[in-house]
């Protein structure tokens, strides 16, 4: 038997609610509706799912999707043993069996024919046919499927099929507003709020440049990194350059503008 507890989220992850998304997610879960979480990188999508799993007390199985992933990587495959073969469940099958929340992170990175295997689990059937094994799994009553993707940087090639999209309820995430984000950075790192607010301000500068040479603004995650460095005793301007400016761009003009913003903020 599979150990359910290994998938449980043990400690409460820090998550700051932006609007009423926690209540909405709870409603979706009560009715076992599949959920899609959209938003730019580092805005807290994965953290939110983790937090919800903790709050609902359900195991969470996370799969980071990639282009080489095949359907059998999700569903499972036969393995060889000394005296025959053995079936090994993939993460999706495991989640459906034990009643976990299955979280497919960055779903569009997987090839479209791979993602089709989740279809029967996401409508009224809630089943997963294992054709190679000749088994039909009926999903555990606690099972729920959650996917995330970042609509920002995908090309036309990488989009979800309409038939996939229309099986989910969706949350559209964005970076929290400045005050809230400062609070989050402060909470997460123990940094005092004024410095956190200054970091958030620099983050905002970069986000304003999105589409003018930047594909993505500075994420909350990077702001937390910067705060962590400052907390460790790095000079604020250096920390910002290292954690906020250098990672996101190679464009000299943008780098210079952001450097200027750093200097203007940490006067």
């Amino acid at each position: 038997m599979i150990d359910k507890d290994q998938y449980k989220v043990q400690q409460e992850p820090f998550y700051q609610q932006q609007k009423n998304e926690v209540a909405l997610y709870e409603a979706a879960y009560r009715n076992r509706l599949p959920v899609m979480v959209k938003g730019p990188t580092g805005c807290g999508k994965s953290r939110f799912v983790e937090y919800m799993a903790w709050k609902l007390g359900k195991p969470l199985i996370t799969v980071a999707c990639n282009e080489d992933m095949t359907a059998s990587d999700l569903v499972g495959r036969y393995l060889l043993e000394a005296n025959g073969t053995r079936w090994l469940d993939g993460p999706l099958t495991t989640a459906a069996r034990i009643g976990a929340i299955c979280y497919l992170d960055e779903i569009v990175e997987a090839r479209q024919d791979t993602t089709v295997v989740i279809h029967p689990l996401t409508d009224h059937r809630r089943t997963l046919p294992l054709d190679k094994k000749g088994e039909l799994i009926r999903a555990h009553p606690d099972f729920q499927l959650v996917i995330s993707y970042n609509p920002g940087y995908q090309t036309l090639m990488k989009d979800l099929k309409q038939s996939t999209k229309q099986r989910f309820t969706a949350f559209d995430f964005d970076y929290p507003d400045a005050a809230l984000e400062a609070q989050i950075v402060a909470q997460e790192t123990g940094m005092d709020e004024t410095v956190a607010a200054q970091l958030v301000k620099i983050g905002g500068v970069a986000r304003n440049l999105k589409g003018h040479g930047l594909d993505e603004g500075i994420s909350t995650r990077l702001l937390v990194y910067a705060a962590t460095l400052i907390k460790d005793g790095v000079a604020p301007a250096d920390a910002c350059r290292m954690a906020l400016v250098r990672p996101i761009t190679d464009d000299a003009d943008i780098r210079e503008t952001l450097d200027h913003a750093v200097d203007a903020t940490f006067a």
Binding site: Y78, V205, N208, H212, D253, T257, A264
Partner: protein
């Protein structure tokens, strides 16, 4: 000579020494001698009078002598008396050449030039440039000895002081060099160039300027506006170079933000203390209006005068602080953004000009306080650029001190460590901060404060005509025209861009020309906006002709088709069932092993490999349609044009089958003013009858100005979104044009165009039909070319070449 008045015997001796009889000279002689005596040494004076005597005897009238007598003492003061022989040498050279007429303008501007240059060495460079210009532009026709004076030389001397205000001596050299090179053979244009009348003269001047040019930092400033201020607008440069009397100030209106075209770096001598400098500073105390040293535009910026910029930067350490031109632009933009965010227009009619000025100063400080609140680092920048008037600098008994008071207050409102002690000022500063402590305040509230301050500190002397200007101009601030609304029409605003005159002329057909620079290899610079390219639709012919051509090459088309099928994009990324591959395909491998254990023959194809195979190519085919295409191809009955037509049709057909985005255009030129770029197929068009009709009508004529056509084609191709961009150039000869006498010029220009395209990620490839192409084509395209010797095989080779390139 009416010698009725008493003349000092010494003066009479000097007069004899000068040995001249011009009455005009006599009229001013006492005055110029007074100045000369004050400035020159004994020996210098003798040399001065001797030089004057020589100039007087040149036989060129009184003008040169008058100019010399008036200019030399002050020139000598700037560069030293020892420079006189060099000056005289130049005059002799001019006198001996047909350029005697240039002596007067040379002498007339000598003093301002000398003041700019400030050293004998520099002056020598200036004289050398003038001599070079003289030597190379003095004309001779068909072997006659020099008989025509240089048309540009007098103009050059007349412009020299203004030029040197903006250019270093090296920059001046480059500017002159450009003029000589391009207008040596064209007297009228040469005159226009050296008198700064022609557009490219100004453009080259602009390029040689010192400082930070707006066009160079425009993107950074745009990012700055968007990023830090969530604002954006057109940044419109205005020229600071040609408006000597009134220097324009930044402003904004509904058409955009106007900024000076150039800001020089500002070098601030920093002081260890942020307190007002107690040392008496000569210039700072002079009450006369300071000339434009601090004004936008950077007159003499590299050598800041003490009165202009003694504001210690609070955090500055030792040595000098440099405020970069970019930071000055940022300060100006931030200030304007502040107004756009927080200022409301006030009705101006009921307030006096003084009151309005005070309101402007207060409002400027209010928005800057709010800006600093948003980005505390701006305080340092603003304070570095803000003048710091000494409290005692203005004498209210003799001078109108209003500006001085306002500038001090403005400083005090921004600088916590201002150190002023005036009670009214301190009180007002306190009230200002009290008001601002509650929030953003408003223009109205601040205006009330300003009026109150003006009323409290009013003095009779404020009305005086003599106004204290030193250290009161804050040059990053805009002219506040948006702060006022007038109920009655006033005459106070004026725009310094001239209203555009639209002259009724002949109606323009087709698209307006686009201008492109051309590379001048000799000076290693671009000639700005040199070539005019007119784009037009290619005329139509009969589309069926092309279909017939394609039918004629049916066999070839079939062969091509086979090659095309191999090239066709296939979306498959993962290739399974491979005996050899990069990775084990686990599922297949397991199946094979199960088969094996079960006693069946296992499938050996248990590997998989990967291939990225999407084709995302944009192609531009550029056809040289110059006259030489009408020649018969060697060993063929067809002209090169006809062969090209067949080849291009086949290629177009092939690319269409492949599905790559592609466009066709032709070009030819008739001098730089008329480069024609003929649109045959655009990216959005299919290879249909319209396109075929245009191809069918292909005609050859004129010359080959390749660089301009490539730049124009790159303009379209560069805008495509594609992984790979390919520009194919089909040509039959070297780049040349009737107005380019130097045959290397256009070759080098084309080479430069290839480099530019390369920088923009456009891959250029040349297909040359010129059997002698080896001499030059690799100079232009490096190794990216093929020469097709047997032109009759072009239709076959072109598509194959394309496929080989894009495989």
């Amino acid at each position: 000579m009416t010698e009725t008045v008493y003349q000092h015997p010494l003066m009479a001796a000097y007069w004899r020494q000068l040995d001249t009889r011009f009455p005009q000279v006599e009229a001013v002689f006492d005055d110029v001698m007074a100045e000369a005596l004050a400035v020159l040494t004994r020996a210098g004076l003798d040399a001065y009078l001797e030089a004057g005597r020589v100039i007087g005897k040149l036989g060129r009238g009184v003008e040169p002598l008058l100019a010399f007598l008036e200019e030399w003492p002050s020139a000598a003061q700037a560069v030293g008396e020892s420079a006189l022989p060099a000056v005289m040498a130049l005059i002799q050279r001019l006198q001996k050449s047909p350029n005697g007429r240039a002596i007067t303008p040379f002498l007339q501007t000598l003093a301002p030039v000398a003041r700019r240059l400030q050293s004998e060495d520099q002056l020598q460079h200036y004289l050398d440039i003038a001599l070079d210009l003289k030597a190379r532009t003095t004309g001779s026709i068909h072997g006659h000895h020099t008989t025509f004076p240089s048309p540009g030389l007098p103009e050059f001397f007349a412009q020299a002081p203004g030029l040197l205000a903006q250019l270093s001596i090296a920059g001046l050299g480059n500017w002159v060099e450009y003029g000589i090179r391009n207008y040596r053979g064209h007297p009228e244009r040469q005159k226009d160039y050296f008198s700064l009348q022609s557009a490219d003269s100004r453009a080259v001047l602009q390029r040689e300027r010192h400082g930070t040019l707006l066009i160079d930092v425009e993107r950074k400033l745009d990012l700055y506006l968007r990023g830090l201020w969530q604002d954006h607008d057109h940044l419109v440069p205005y020229s600071t170079a040609f408006d000597e009397i009134r220097k324009p100030i930044p402003y904004y209106d509904k058409l955009g933000i106007r900024l000076p075209d150039v800001y020089d770096d500002l070098i601030l001598p920093s002081s260890p203390f942020p307190h007002p400098n107690p040392l008496p500073e000569g210039e700072g105390e002079k009450a006369e209006p300071k000339p434009i040293e601090r004004e936008a535009g950077g007159e003499g910026r590299t050598r800041p005068s003490p009165g202009a910029s003694h504001h210690p930067l609070p955090q500055a350490g030792e040595g000098k602080t440099v405020i970069s031109g970019l930071d000055r632009y940022r300060a100006a933009l931030a200030h304007i953004v502040g107004h756009r965010r927080w200022s409301d227009a006030q009705v101006a009619d009921n307030w006096s000009p003084f009151q309005r000025m005070a309101v402007e100063f207060f409002e400027d400080c209010r928005v800057e306080t709010l800006l600093i609140r948003a980005y505390p680092g701006l305080r340092k920048l603003f304070l570095a650029l803000h003048p710091k008037p000494l409290e005692t600098a203005c004498d209210p008994e003799t001078t109108s001190c209003l500006r001085h008071r306002m500038a001090m207050l403005s400083r005090a409102l921004l600088d916590p460590a201002h150190g002023y002690i005036d009670a009214d000022l301190l009180d007002t500063v306190q009230r200002f901060h009290a008001v601002m402590a509650h929030g953003e305040s408003s223009t109205k509230e601040i205006a009330a404060l300003a009026l109150n301050y003006v009323a409290k500190t009013r003095r009779q002397s404020d009305q005086f005509a003599r106004v204290h200007f030193a250290d009161t101009v804050v040059d990053y601030r805009d002219d506040n025209r948006q702060l006022w609304k007038f109920i009655e029409a006033g005459d106070e605003e004026d725009a310094f861009d001239e209203p555009r005159k639209i002259e009724p002329g002949e109606e323009i057909h087709g698209l307006p020309p686009r201008h492109y620079p051309e590379w001048d290899y000799a000076s290693q610079t671009y000639r700005p906006d040199w070539v005019s390219v007119y784009e037009a639709l290619h005329p139509h012919g009969n589309a069926a002709d092309i279909d017939r051509l394609l039918a004629k090459h049916g066999a070839l088309a079939k062969r091509l088709k086979k090659m095309l099928d191999l090239l066709k994009p296939q979306d498959k990324v993962r290739i399974r069932y491979q005996e050899e591959g990069s990775e084990l395909d686990l599922d297949v491998a397991l199946r094979a092993l199960i088969d094996f254990k079960g006693g069946a023959t296992p499938d050996p194809r248990i590997n998989m490999s990967h291939r990225t195979d999407g084709r995302d190519i944009a192609v531009m085919l550029l056809l040289d349609l110059s006259e030489s295409l009408n020649d018969k191809a060697a060993g063929s009955e067809q002209t090169i044009l006809e062969l090209s037509q067949e080849a291009v049709s086949l290629l177009a057909w092939a690319i269409e089958k492949l599905g790559d985005a592609f466009a066709i255009a032709g070009f030819h030129s008739n001098t730089r003013h008329d480069v024609r770029y003929l649109h045959i197929k655009g990216y959005g068009e299919a290879f249909d009858d319209d396109v075929k009709a245009r191809l069918a009508a292909m005609q050859a004529g004129w010359s080959t100005r390749m660089g301009a056509a490539m730049r124009h084609a790159a303009h379209t191709l560069g805008a495509r979104r594609a992984d790979k961009k390919l520009m194919l150039i089909l040509t039959d000869g070297r780049p040349s044009d009737v107005d380019a006498h130097d045959e290397r010029l256009l070759v080098e220009d084309a080479r430069q165009a290839v480099k530019e395209l390369d920088r923009d990620n456009i891959f250029t490839y040349c297909i040359s039909l010129d059997p002698k192409a080896d001499e030059y084509v690799s100079d232009i395209f490096g190794r990216q070319f093929s020469v097709i010797d047997r032109v009759e095989r072009l239709p076959e080779q072109l598509p194959q070449l394309f496929m080989a390139l894009t495989k």
